[in-house]
C-alpha cells in the first residue's frame, strides 16, 4: 500500500489523472460542495446568535462528504456522525433535519420517508458497526445495497472500530468505511491516536483493502468511493478509505482550537481548500463564472434562513409528546408518568 494519498486534482486546479466525471457532473458536485459550505458557515453563525445549540462544523471536509456520498445509489445507506452533514444531505437527509436537530428538537432526527440515512451518531465510534449490519442485511434480503459509514481519525481508536472492521471483513459485508482523517480529535493530533504509519494500513490486519486519498480532492475521493461501492455491490466485500483532510474550524462551536494548534497550520490547509481547487479547474475548463457562484450562495443562504425561521416557529414538544418516541405503545409506567408530566 502506498502511503502517498491518491490525487487527481492538484491544489492549483490542474488535473493529473483520469476522472470518470464529465464537466456537467463536476459542476453539480461543486454546487453541492458550495451549498454545503454555505450551510455550514450559516449554521456556525446562527449558533453564535444563539439560534442553534452547539454546532460541529465540517468546513474543509466538503470534498470528502460530497465525493463519497455521490458514489451511492438511493438504495444504499449512509451512517455518519455529527460532522457528516454534507454526506447525509447529499443522500437525502435535509438541511431542515440537521438544523432542527441543532435547535435542540428531536423532530430533526426524522429522516424523510424513503431516504436511507440514519440520524447522526453523537457518540464516537459506535455507528460504524451499524453500517456492517445494514449492508449485511441488504445482502441477506437479496438486495445489492451498500452501506457507507463516515467517521474521523479519533473514532479509529474506539474498540467498536475494530469490531466493525473485523465483522465486515469476516462476513464480507457490503460496507464502505470512509475515514476522514482531519488531523484532530478535538485537541489530540492523529499521531496521538495511532502509531500505525497510516490509518489505511489498519485495513491490512483485517484482510481488507485499504486506500489512501487526498480528501480535499473531490475527483480522487469520488473515484475511490465509486470503486469501493462497486466492489461492495459486486459482493467483493468492504474497503477502508482514509481521506486526508483538515477540519478548518473548531471541533464544535464550544471549542477553542487556539489552545492546541497554530493558525499557521490552518492557513496552510486553506491553501488546499477543496472548493477552490475544483473552482480553479472549472475556470480553466471555462465552466465557472462568478454570477453562477453568487446565485448558488444567495439561494442557499436564503433557504437556510427560511428553514431556521420555520424551525423556530415549530411549537416545542409538549410534556405529553416527550414520551412518544420510546416505544410503539407506551408502557403502563410511561402512561402514568406522562399523566404526571402533563399535570406539571
Amino acid at each position: 500500500m502506498s502511503p502517498e494519498p491518491r490525487q487527481i486534482l492538484a491544489p492549483d486546479g490542474t488535473r493529473h489523472g483520469e476522472s470518470s466525471l464529465e464537466i456537467p457532473a463536476i459542476r453539480r458536485l461543486y454546487q453541492a460542495m458550495l451549498s454545503a459550505r454555505v450551510f455550514d458557515r450559516k449554521a456556525s453563525a446562527m449558533q453564535r446568535q444563539g439560534r442553534l445549540a452547539t454546532y460541529s462544523p465540517f468546513e474543509g471536509q466538503e470534498a470528502c462528504q460530497i465525493g463519497s456520498a455521490a458514489a451511492l445509489s438511493p438504495q444504499d445507506w449512509v451512517v455518519g456522525s455529527y460532522r457528516d452533514g454534507g454526506a447525509m444531505w447529499l443522500h437525502g437527509y435535509t438541511w431542515r433535519n440537521l438544523l432542527l436537530g441543532r435547535t435542540g428538537d428531536e423532530r430533526g432526527g426524522r429522516t424523510p420517508d424513503g431516504v436511507r440515512v440514519l440520524p447522526p451518531s453523537i457518540t464516537v465510534g459506535g455507528h460504524m458497526i451499524h453500517a456492517v449490519g445494514l449492508g449485511w442485511g441488504e445482502r441477506l434480503q437479496g438486495s445489492d445495497g451498500v452501506a457507507l459509514t463516515l467517521f474521523g481519525d479519533g473514532a479509529t481508536s474506539e474498540g467498536d472500530f475494530h469490531e466493525a472492521m473485523n465483522f465486515a471483513a469476516v462476513f464480507e459485508t457490503p460496507t464502505v468505511f470512509f475515514c476522514q482523517n482531519n488531523g484532530w480529535a478535538i485537541s489530540m493530533p492523529t499521531e496521538r491516536q495511532t502509531r500505525s504509519e497510516t490509518i489505511a494500513h489498519k485495513a491490512v490486519a483485517y484482510g481488507m483493502e485499504g486506500v489512501r486519498v487526498d480528501g480535499n480532492d473531490l475527483l480522487a475521493v469520488y473515484e475511490a468511493a465509486t470503486a469501493a461501492v462497486a466492489k461492495a455491490r459486486r459482493g467483493d466485500g468492504p474497503t477502508l478509505i482514509e481521506a486526508i483532510t483538515f477540519r478548518v474550524g473548531p471541533h464544535t462551536t464550544a471549542d477553542d482550537p487556539g489552545r492546541y494548534r497554530s493558525e499557521g497550520i490552518v492557513a496552510e490547509w486553506r491553501e488546499r481548500d477543496p472548493l477552490e481547487r475544483v473552482r480553479r479547474y472549472l475556470v480553466a475548463q471555462d465552466a465557472w463564472d462568478e454570477a453562477w457562484q453568487r446565485e448558488i450562495e444567495e439561494a442557499e443562504s436564503r433557504a437556510i434562513e427560511d428553514i431556521v425561521a420555520d424551525a423556530e416557529a415549530l411549537p416545542a414538544f409538549t410534556p405529553r409528546e416527550i414520551f412518544d418516541g420510546m416505544y410503539a405503545e407506551p408502557t403502563a409506567q410511561l402512561r402514568e408518568q406522562r399523566a404526571e408530566a402533563e399535570r406539571g
Binding site: G109, L118, P119, D160
Partner: protein, 324 residues
C-alpha cells in the same frame, strides 16, 4: 404437545421463528456447537450459515450488527453467551438499540431480541453468574422480560420477536434443565408485560421472577402446608411491568415479600416495593419484605449458595410479615 425443559422450549421457539426469512441468529458458538447451553442446537444444520451465524468474539459487534440488520428490515436475535459478557455491548444497547426510535422519531426502529442467559447456581467461573437485569431496566427504550417456565419461554420468545421494540430476553441459567412442562408443538405467544398469577391466596403475596421462581414456589408450598394462604406472582416482564397485578395482590393480602436474585440496592425489587408503597400503603399489615442477593460480587462455586436467596430465606421473610 411434548414435555420440554426451558432450553428445549427455547430451541423449539427459535426453530419456529427461523421459518420467517427475516429472522437470523447471531452469537458466539451458536452454530456449530449449538450454543454453550445447547439452546440453538441443530439450527445451523436446519437453516444454514446465513441464518444461524457463528460470530467472532465481540459482543458489541454482535449487537451493533444486529441493530443495523433490524433497522434495515430484518428480525435478528442476538445471543450474549452470559450476562457478564453483555457489558461490552451495553454501549450499543443503551446508546443505539434503545434510542433509535426516539432519535428518528419513529422513522427507524430496531426490533431485535437480545437473549441473555443470566443468574448463578451452576458453579461457573467469574462473570458467569450475573443477575444485572436492573441496569437494562434503566435503559428506556428496551423491554426486559424473563420467563421462568418452558411454556412461557417459548411463548414469550415468539412474542418478543413479534414486538415492534427491542427486547432484552433473560434466560435463567439455573432453570434451563430443571423444569419440564408440556409445551404445544405449534407457535403461540405469551404477551409481554403481563405477570402470571400462579396461586390465589389471602394472607401473603410472594412476588418473584425468573431464576427465583423455583424458590418462590417451594416457599409457597411450605407456607401453604402450614395453613398460610399464599398469593404467588411471577412478574415475567420487568419492562413493561404489570404493577396492577402486584398492587391488586398487595391490597388483598396486606403482606408482601418481593424476591430477586440480583444484589439488593436499587434492584428491581426496590421498584416493586416502591410501587406497593405508593399505591397500596393503606392496605398493608406489615412492612414489605425484600429477599435478594447481597451487594457483593457473586461468590464462586464453593460459596455461591450463600448468595442465591434460599427457600428458607423466603419462608422466613413471609413469616415475619405474618407475625402479629
Amino acid at each position: 404437545m411434548a414435555e420440554l425443559n426451558i432450553a428445549q422450549a427455547l430451541n423449539a421457539a427459535l426453530s419456529s421463528a427461523l421459518e420467517d426469512d427475516r429472522v437470523v441468529l447471531l452469537g458466539e458458538d451458536v452454530g456449530t456447537t449449538g450454543g454453550v447451553f445447547r439452546v440453538t442446537d441443530g439450527l445451523l444444520q436446519k437453516y444454514g450459515p446465513d441464518r444461524v451465524i457463528d460470530t467472532p468474539v465481540a459482543e458489541s459487534g454482535i449487537v451493533g450488527a444486529a441493530f443495523g440488520m433490524a433497522v434495515g428490515g430484518m428480525r435478528p436475535i442476538a445471543e450474549m453467551q452470559f450476562m457478564g459478557f453483555s457489558y461490552p455491548a451495553f454501549d450499543q444497547i443503551i446508546n443505539h438499540v434503545a434510542r433509535i426510535r426516539n432519535r428518528s422519531q419513529g422513522r427507524f426502529t430496531a426490533p431485535l431480541v437480545i437473549r441473555i442467559p443470566y443468574g448463578a447456581g451452576i458453579g461457573a467461573a467469574e462473570h458467569h453468574s450475573e443477575s444485572a437485569e436492573a441496569i437494562y431496566v434503566q435503559a428506556p427504550g428496551v423491554k426486559v422480560v424473563v420467563p421462568a417456565t418452558p411454556y412461557d419461554a417459548k411463548g414469550m420468545l415468539l412474542a418478543a420477536l413479534d414486538d415492534p421494540d427491542p427486547v432484552i430476553f433473560l434466560e435463567p441459567i439455573r432453570l434451563y434443565r430443571s423444569i419440564k412442562q408440556e409445551v404445544p408443538d405449534e407457535a403461540y405467544r405469551v404477551p409481554l408485560g403481563v405477570a402470571a398469577h400462579l396461586r390465589q391466596g389471602r394472607d401473603v403475596s410472594l412476588i418473584g421472577y425468573g431464576s427465583m421462581m423455583r424458590e418462590v414456589n417451594a416457599a409457597a408450598d411450605i407456607l401453604a402446608a402450614e395453613g398460610v394462604s399464599v398469593d404467588v406472582i411471577d412478574l415475567r416482564s420487568l419492562v413493561p411491568f404489570d404493577a396492577e397485578m402486584v398492587i391488586d395482590s398487595a391490597q388483598r393480602t396486606g403482606r408482601v415479600v418481593v424476591v430477586q436474585e440480583a444484589p439488593r440496592s436499587a434492584g428491581f425489587a426496590a421498584e416493586v416495593v416502591a410501587q406497593v408503597q405508593e399505591k397500596a400503603l393503606y392496605s398493608l399489615n406489615a412492612p414489605v419484605e425484600r429477599v435478594t442477593g447481597y451487594d457483593i460480587v457473586v461468590p464462586l462455586r464453593r460459596a455461591e449458595k450463600h448468595f442465591v436467596p434460599s427457600v428458607a430465606r423466603v419462608v422466613a421473610a413471609a413469616r415475619r410479615t405474618l407475625e402479629p
